[in-house]
Amino acid sequence: MTQVLTIARLTILEASRRKLLLALGILTVVVIVLTSWGFSRLPTMSGVTPAEVRLASSQLTILVAFMFSGVLALGSTLVAAPSIASDIESGIALAILPRPIRRSQLLMGKWLGLAVLVGIYAAGSGLLELLGIWLATGYTPPNPVAALTFVAAEGIVLMTLALLLSTRLAPMTGGVIALVFFFVAWIGGIALAIGQTFANDTIINIGVGSRLLIPTDGLWHGAIFYLEPTDFLAAARAAGRARAGNPFFADQPPPAIYVGWVIAWLAGLLALANVSFARRDL
């Protein structure tokens, strides 16, 4: 475990020294200030009611969360895709692995370090943004902690996929493949919503398959659900087919069995990554 923690600390230190955290931190603060200012304009619009401000705030919060989850997903892919591959290409791994450290410890250390970075960014940026929105409009989503947990999980899922690809593929190739999966899963989620609305089993199966194969969109919908106020949910359900295919709406929270599947998926991918890395000749 000590070796895992050493590599995790090294991964976090590298992100810090390479100014990744600083750049991300500054950009995030700028975005939060700008969006909070935008939110603060909502109550000042002419003729707007408090209920309308609340409705608009809830929808805009979901959109802002989508932006942050996108940044997190793309960012974690860009950081994870080269993590093992670059170390092999540059020779850093050649110097480290003859030490008394297992390849699995190196890999799990990288994963842990990246997961901590994803968690810190999701919690930090999310809570700051929600604070800004609350100060600007007085609105808070129903369950921000659960929503941010799902956003972080989405980032960790994509990061884990990129890490697996990194054990065998060049950074660029692994990163592109992970991003393709991410967007395909997003489209799969929209297909699922459409299939459910129109009770089309084929489309439903495609959508469910994509959510099982790449759980990013399933987790994103978990985040959406916990950002939706109850009255908004009731109105949206009443709208029926009119909501079909809206990628920013979730009718139900992810079932516990799906959360269990995501945990098993993560464990499976990590096991696969360990086997792949252990068998590779360097």
């Binding site: 090294l10 110097a95 450290i101 000749d281 360097l282």
Partner: protein, 308 residues
């Protein structure tokens, strides 16, 4: 080989083979490196030298055969604490300072934290980087990176150090320093496995060596054994009748280059006899030069023989 036998050696391989797809990198490598000796590992490009080193430190997996390092099968985690390795092509984290790189490797080696400072200072001193200890590695030249790599390999007083082309990026002063470091390691009782293209370097510091080609050892032994015990002599002669040359065959294999005759496999104590015989046959001797075969000559000859 019995485990007890392997334990007495720094490195032992038995029919070690490695194949990458259809490419055979190593084909039945069998060799032994004794403890506290400097062992040179020579071979042309593509002979399998780096592959062999990577197999010994667990970076690649053998297709067949076995190998022991410091008495344990390769890959043994505990043994790696007693091992130092300088890869041929490597880089350290450019964003770290030299001192931090060494600290990281102290940590990964599970060295007691109380020993770190002394070990780091000693390694920096040994490789001549004390004044650059707090500089970032990204600002280092290739030669300085190689010095740092050597420092990393020497951390914790390892019992075996594997150096893969340790001087490829160094200037003559750096090469001299590395030779001195290797001599210091030998004096400490550390076995050094030196993979190098620089034959003069190997000639100067290695106790024993192996020559590999196409993934196999084609010659192994001490420098004297590899070069051959018997030397060669060149003699400049004029006036020797045609028949006389044939009669000189008893002094060794003769290479006739006009005025210069080279006798191979001639013991030095027979040189006066040779000169007397030439004079007896009417020849006039202008020069007698003992010819020492260099490792490069022998190396090229071995490869030529192998190809034939």
């Amino acid at each position: 080989m019995e485990a007890a036998d392997a334990a007495s050696l720094a490195v032992h391989t038995q029919d070690l083979a490695k194949r990458y797809g259809k490419t055979v990198a190593l084909s039945g490598l069998t060799m032994s490196v004794r403890r506290a000796e400097v062992f040179g590992f020579l071979g042309p490009n593509g002979a399998g030298k780096t592959t062999a080193v990577k197999l010994l430190v667990g970076l690649a997996h053998p297709t067949a055969g076995e190998a022991w390092v410091l008495g344990a099968p390769v890959g043994d985690l505990q043994t790696r604490r007693r091992l130092g390795y300088l890869p041929e092509l490597f880089r350290y984290q450019g964003w770290m300072k030299a001192r931090e790189v060494l600290g990281l490797h102290c940590e990964l080696s599970r060295m007691p934290r109380s020993d770190w400072n002394a070990e780091i200072a000693s390694a920096l001193e040994l490789v001549g980087l004390s004044d650059r200890a707090d500089d970032k590695v990204e600002g280092f030249s290739k030669g300085m990176q190689q010095r740092l790599g050597l420092g990393v390999a020497l951390l914790g007083r390892p019992e075996l150090v594997l150096l893969d082309e340790p001087t490829s990026a160094l200037d003559p002063v750096g090469r001299h320093d590395v030779r001195e470091i290797i001599r210091t390691l030998k004096a400490r009782g550390t076995a050094v496995f030196l993979n190098s293209h620089l034959l003069t370097e190997v000639e100067q510091i290695c106790d024993r060596l192996a020559v590999v080609d196409h993934g196999r050892v084609i010659a192994t032994g001490t420098m004297a054994q590899i070069l051959g015990q018997d030397g060669a002599v060149r003699v400049r002669v004029t006036g020797l009748p045609a028949g006389g040359r044939a009669g000189l065959g008893e002094f060794g294999s003769l290479e006739d280059e006009g005025e210069w005759l080279t006798f191979r496999g001639l013991p030095s104590e027979r040189v006066p006899q040779l000169v007397a015989e030439i004079v007896r046959q009417g020849g006039r001797v202008y020069a007698v030069e003992p010819r020492h075969e260099t490792l490069e000559d022998r190396f090229l000859q071995l490869l030529k023989e192998q190809d034939q």
